[in-house]
């Protein structure tokens, strides 16, 4: 049962940040697609709920060829999924959103809320980290930006400090000859992933690997960027054998749980298989 709370509805970002500081024991709600479930189970019982869903100035998708993509925190998933500019420049984000929960959830739930919830099984985080995203957070006192991978601290725990909310997700322009792919393993099409793997590859002029990121979802307390894969692949001419090796590394450099959906061993196996496949897919895209 949801506890009684006082409802605050700011009209602007400034109001929101001020209210957030003014009220103790205050939780921010936007789409609420994850938050309300948690509150209903009694796991969170804030005295104040700050509703930023209608702070229109935070609902935007902007792109320019220099600064890249900027998505405001209250932008619904569906807007990202349907955005032409995202499709053209970061098709992997559209593909990821297309498999996230259901259309109803994507219509109301927001990308900022998803990231702030920090569910290790969340879809956006691995993909965004693979794309080298940064995240801007801010409070009444000021703003700061950090790499997205530093934003996640633990299960459902972020680097947000008191009074801070997520403001914007920033994805840099992809270098030429970059490909990215994401897949999660599940039994049902848009179910949350038993595990998920995002991979991004950038080739240099000579066709060798200039940069690579492999990020594992639901493989530990937070998204895991597998650095050893980067060490393995950067500078090399890529091939299937290397991808298989990368898969083995990924299956080792993670900390997956065992639950009713899969044993730890199976999760590691799946992480290995999907890492290999996502690298393959990302690589194929660089040629296109």
């Amino acid at each position: 049962m949801i506890n009684d709370f006082n409802y605050l509805r700011p009209g602007t970002l400034k109001e929101a940040l001020a209210m957030y500081v003014e009220h103790d024991d205050c939780k921010v709600i936007c789409g609420g697609q994850s938050l309300l479930i948690v509150m209903r189970q009694g796991m969170l019982t804030p005295e104040y709920l700050l509703d930023i869903k209608h702070v229109k100035e935070l609902d935007y998708i902007r792109f320019d060829k220099k600064d890249g993509l900027k998505i405001g925190t209250t932008t619904p998933h569906r807007a990202v999924e349907k955005s032409d500019v995202v499709k053209q420049n970061y098709p992997v984000l559209v593909a990821m959103e297309n498999k996230l929960a259901s259309i109803q959830v994507r219509n109301w739930g927001t990308i900022g809320g998803n990231l702030a919830h920090a569910d290790p099984a969340g879809d956006p985080a691995p993909v965004l980290i693979a794309l080298k995203a940064t995240i801007k957070v801010g409070s009444a006192k000021g703003e700061r930006t950090m790499p997205l991978e530093d934003f996640f601290v633990d299960y459902f725990e972020t680097a947000l400090q008191e009074g801070e909310i997520v403001l914007e997700v920033q994805v840099p322009v992809c270098e030429p000859k970059t490909g990215a792919a994401y897949q999660k393993f599940n039994l049902l099409e848009s179910d949350m992933g038993v595990i998920g793997v995002a991979a991004a590859i950038t080739l240099n002029g000579g066709g060798k690997c200039k940069d690579v990121r492999v990020v594992l979802g639901n493989a530990g307390q937070k998204p895991i960027r597998v650095k050893r894969v980067e060490e393995l692949l950067i500078g090399k001419t890529l091939n299937e054998g290397l991808f298989a090796e990368a898969g083995t590394i990924a299956s080792e450099d993670c900390d997956p749980v065992a639950d009713i959906h899969a044993s730890e061993e199976h999760r590691r196996h799946l992480l290995g298989v999907l890492t290999k496949r996502m690298l393959q897919q990302a690589w194929e895209q660089t040629k296109g």
């Binding site: 009684d4 309300l36 209903r40 709920l49 259901s102 259309i103 109803q104 219509n107 109301w108 848009s190």
Partner: protein
């Protein structure tokens, strides 16, 4: 908990209710406004029986605070028909036997209508994706897909005469 005033526009009608701010939209629609067509079947935003439309988009009303819906145009299953004339999608559901126990039907129809609002000519796969957030235990979905497909192809055009 002190009740707050809330103005909701549901099926083109403005309502004024006084609610505990933690009330979910589905609770207010069903209990305060008295529209029981919208159902509830889970606590984890999974089943879709609470689906209605906000500004023409399908949403699950069990995971929206009623307070958040202020200022929006809400459409429930009761709002699809026009003065006793069923909407084409409703006629299609009847003609294709796309419901059995009927409990999932209102939510399913709202998802179907929202899909067609956004994508008037969906492929079969897009139709299946469009109702993916709605569970049906009875039909096996295929008759629902056929009904939506037939509606999209104009088989149940509204009779405005």
């Amino acid at each position: 908990m002190e009740k707050k005033k809330l103005r909701l526009t549901v099926n083109k009608q403005e309502y004024e209710v006084y609610i505990n701010p933690k009330a979910l939209l589905v609770e207010v629609i069903r209990d305060e406004i008295g529209l029981t067509g919208t159902k509830r079947g889970c606590d984890t935003v999974s089943c879709g029986t609470c689906t209605l439309m906000i500004n023409g988009m399908s949403v699950k009303s069990c995971s929206i605070l009623a307070m958040q819906a202020e200022g929006a145009e809400i459409t429930t299953i009761e709002g699809l028909e026009d003065n006793g004339k069923l909407a084409p999608i409703q006629k299609a559901f009847i003609d294709h036997g796309s419901y059995q126990c009927g409990f999932c039907a209102p939510g399913m129809i709202m998802s179907a209508q929202a899909l067609l609002n956004e994508n008037p000519h969906p492929t079969e796969w897009e139709i299946r994706e469009g109702i993916e957030g709605n569970i049906c235990r009875c039909t096996g979905y295929n008759s629902i897909v056929r009904a939506i497909d037939a509606t999209a192809k104009g088989a149940y055009k509204e009779d405005r005469s």
